[in-house]
């Protein structure tokens, strides 16, 4: 990727991305033929935006490659669910495996991309997405930490600001961490960021210019 000449694309004529538009932008950036894990919740919707000829194979950490769309009606089979425990379908060429093999696949770096939601992402790519840390909250981690450190690239999708306007791209995460320096790309309603050793680069903006974006964030950003 480093040899590709890039520059920040400012979509000033567009509004901030809606949830479906954001999923479509993520889907656009998933390489053809990739093996991909889509996290529970919003990331799951990325599948709806993959082109029919994408050649993308979906992994679900509860033991399957070649997962198809959500099951409906007679297709529903209690033995065939995704990581969110929703009934799904099986595509031709699927394979099943047990949990240790499934997470060996993940931890071993064999998945090309995983897409996750987040509470916060730090400028060096730390991820916080499993626990608010609120007193009394019962912690639950599931596969979040395994996903964070396992895939070759971790894409995060989230709104850039909380409802009260606080940035979720932060100098240091204040929420409990899921993984260190693991996020490679951050997809938000207002901008797409590439994270790496050179810091935070802005690949695209939506309905906001680079300078205004820079002014609203507490982390240094540069043009891609």
């Amino acid at each position: 990727m480093s040899t590709v000449e890039m520059s920040t694309v400012e979509h000033l004529d567009r509004k901030p991305l809606g949830r479906a538009e954001l999923a479509a932008v993520v889907a656009r950036d998933i390489p053809r033929g990739a093996f991909v894990n889509l996290g529970i919740g919003q990331p799951t919707t990325v599948a709806d935006h993959l082109p029919a000829d994408s050649g993308v194979t979906l992994h679900t950490e509860n033991g399957m490659l070649g997962m198809g769309p959500a099951a409906e009606g007679d297709e529903i089979d209690p033995d065939l669910i995704n990581a969110g425990k929703q009934p799904v379908t099986e595509l031709p060429g699927a394979a099943y495996f047990h949990h240790a093999d499934s997470f060996a696949m993940m931890r071993g770096g064999h998945l090309d991309v995983c897409v996750l939601g987040a509470y916060q992402v730090s400028q060096r790519g730390d991820l916080a997405n499993w626990h608010t840390g609120a007193p009394g909250a019962i912690p639950a981690v599931g596969g979040a930490m395994d996903l964070a450190i396992g895939a070759k690239q971790v894409f995060v999708m989230m709104t850039l600001f909380t409802k009260d306007g606080t940035p979720k791209l932060v100098p240091e995460c204040t929420y409990p961490l899921t993984g260190l320096a693991c996020v490679s790309r951050l997809y938000t309603d207002l901008a797409v960021f590439h994270l790496g050793p050179d810091g935070v680069k802005v690949a695209e903006t939506y309905g906001i210019g680079f300078d205004e974006l820079a002014a609203r964030l507490d982390v240094p950003i540069t043009r891609a």
Partner: protein
């Protein structure tokens, strides 16, 4: 040698107070409900239960928790929309929780079954779940030292089993079953179908009979 049972209570006989019980399933897929119900009737208490979740609704594992038989849960994802039984016990300080990332949970049981003394795992490094654990940098990457989780008893669910104890699973209901079968001193599997030796394809057996001590024939149980 594997013994074949038609009575769940007979299949569960002999579980001791204070045992560590591995319970298969991810959501309801692969959940050994009949065996859990028998465990409740059997009455063993002060149990440590290892399972991905910590019970849903008021049945199965949740009922075991509600009966105050479980001293400690080791799991990855206790908090769910319908985990009110666990939630209540946890908030009241009446149950201990060891939270383990899902892949590490599977790998720690795999290590127990495979005679591995401990292993260096990249998952969770730098997060609250690695606090207090030994770490080590290998080839420039940081790892956490993780120890095996061995069960006294494993309760699992499979699709079919033959009279020698060989098991096959179905779709994502496979999940933790094969790993737990290797990690426990006494493995008890509930199966939907019992096959004669030679009926299962030797290439497709997932859990060889050496790992299975008792098989409960659900079909016979239903007919009874």
């Amino acid at each position: 040698m594997t013994t074949l049972h038609t009575d769940p209570d007979e299949a569960l006989a002999g579980v001791q107070d204070g045992s560590t019980v591995l319970i298969g399933g991810f959501g309801m897929a692969g959940m050994p409900v009949t065996l859990i119900d028998a465990l409740i009737r059997q009455g063993a208490k002060d149990l440590t239960v290892v399972s991905n979740n910590a019970g849903n609704g008021d049945t199965g594992l949740a009922a075991l928790l509600a009966a105050r038989r479980v001293r400690k849960m080791i799991c990855s994802f206790p908090r769910q929309s319908d985990s009110w039984v666990f939630d209540g016990l946890y908030r009241a300080g009446e149950i201990e929780l060891e939270l383990v990332p899902q892949g590490t949970l599977a790998e720690r049981m795999r290590a127990a079954g495979a005679g591995i003394g401990a292993f260096y795992c990249p998952t969770g490094v730098g997060t609250p779940l690695a606090e207090g654990k030994e770490t080590r940098t290998i080839d420039g990457r940081e790892y956490v030292l993780e120890y095996p989780i061995k069960g006294d008893v494993a309760l699992i669910s499979a699709h079919a089993g033959d009279r020698l104890g060989n098991l096959v699973y179905r779709k994502t209901a496979r999940n933790f079953g094969p790993v737990m079968a290797t990690a426990a001193t006494l493995t008890i599997a509930q199966v939907r179908h019992v096959a004669e030796a030679g009926e299962l394809d030797p290439e497709a057996v997932v859990t060889p009979g050496i790992y299975v001590d008792r098989i409960l024939d659900l079909k016979a149980e239903e007919a009874a």
